[in-house]
Symmetry: C3
Subunit: 153 residues, 3 copies
């Protein structure tokens, strides 16, 4: 088991298999040492995490949803690494989209659910540049969608 | 005529000239083998494709609008290639913004209008990472805006 | 003083120190010659620039807010360059998010506040690819958030 997966296991996280693409886009594209991962929507073993933060979910529930996006990003990263996620050099950048009410202002606290998890799981390799904004709405009504760029060896 | 343009012609698509920039930004920037293309707004020969998907346009009309963005992205790519679009290695990533009602949930089906067209026109080179979200609103009231990163040789 | 900072000084702009990150993300990540800068929110010496463009702020006030984001982006760039901002090769790309009413349509004019300033300060190195969209809402209620990619030597 890789070091990163051992740490994830300690944190109670097992990376899911990457879903087969449902359309003419793919979960990730590798260019040189950069991995571009498609936007991952909030979901867990019970299914999609739906709703507008600020109405249907509070900020903490939004942060929990954001963490699930980060787990899916790592699952895609592992696939991009041909299974060996220890090839990760660092998380370069996240863009986090929150499905919120128009007057919601705690997007950073929501996306911290992903950022904090990445640093907990990956250490300094997990620190990244980031934007956190609200979308007008998100696919299937999910609470959070996050895309990422990673650097790998 | 290039192979890609011959295929586009079969599909009834002729790439328009790239509009001169209206401001201090440019249609694309090339860094090494990567081309960053500015967000392209939905338009066709009749002008801008306007409105909110979920209210003024249905999902299929949104997908048709997204296809026009993809055509404009390819037009910018051709210009970035100095006219020879066959230098394309692959489409790396799209970010698709849909102008929708706050409860719209079919952003992926809308942006599929671009993704499906790119794969139809470019084959496997057209497969890409992607995020699909709703914006709160879009420039001039257009229905869709899509930005892209391409890799070229 | 660097050439770029001398020009900024002529324009009445002094780059602020980069705020220490408040969370597990960082102001910028450098990968090779590319600098990915986190989304910068509108603020000046008097504090955050808040409100929805189209309701609380007009388009010109939104453009003024966007300029402050660009100043913060350059401050982060300077830090990424180890203090020597003259290492800038060019501004590659901006994504500008406007906090607006749902029917606002002048996102490009708002983000021009950043684009025009970058070209005024940096000349041709300031020209960039760009997307300009409205977010559904923004952190702390700010009017504008802009992220950027720069190329450095």
């Amino acid at each position: 088991m890789s070091k990163i997966e051992a740490k994830l296991s300690e944190l109670g996280v097992n990376l899911p298999d990457v879903a087969a693409p449902a359309a003419n886009y793919v979960p990730y594209v590798v260019v040189g040492d950069m991995v571009y991962v498609s936007g991952q929507i909030s979901m867990n073993e019970d299914g999609l995490i739906l709703g507008k933060v600020g109405a249907d979910l509070d900020t903490q529930a939004g942060a929990d949803a954001a963490k699930t996006c980060a787990i899916s990003l790592l699952a895609a990263l592992k696939a991009a690494c041909g299974g060996d996620i220890d090839r990760l050099v660092r998380v370069v950048k996240l863009v986090g989209f929150v499905n919120s009410t128009p007057d919601f202002t705690d997007q950073p606290k929501v996306i911290n659910g992903a950022s904090d998890f990445l640093v907990e799981a990956l250490g300094d390799k997990g620190r990244h540049a980031r934007s956190a904004v609200s979308a007008g709405a998100l696919p299937l009504g999910v609470a959070v969608e996050i895309e990422a760029i990673f650097q790998i060896a």
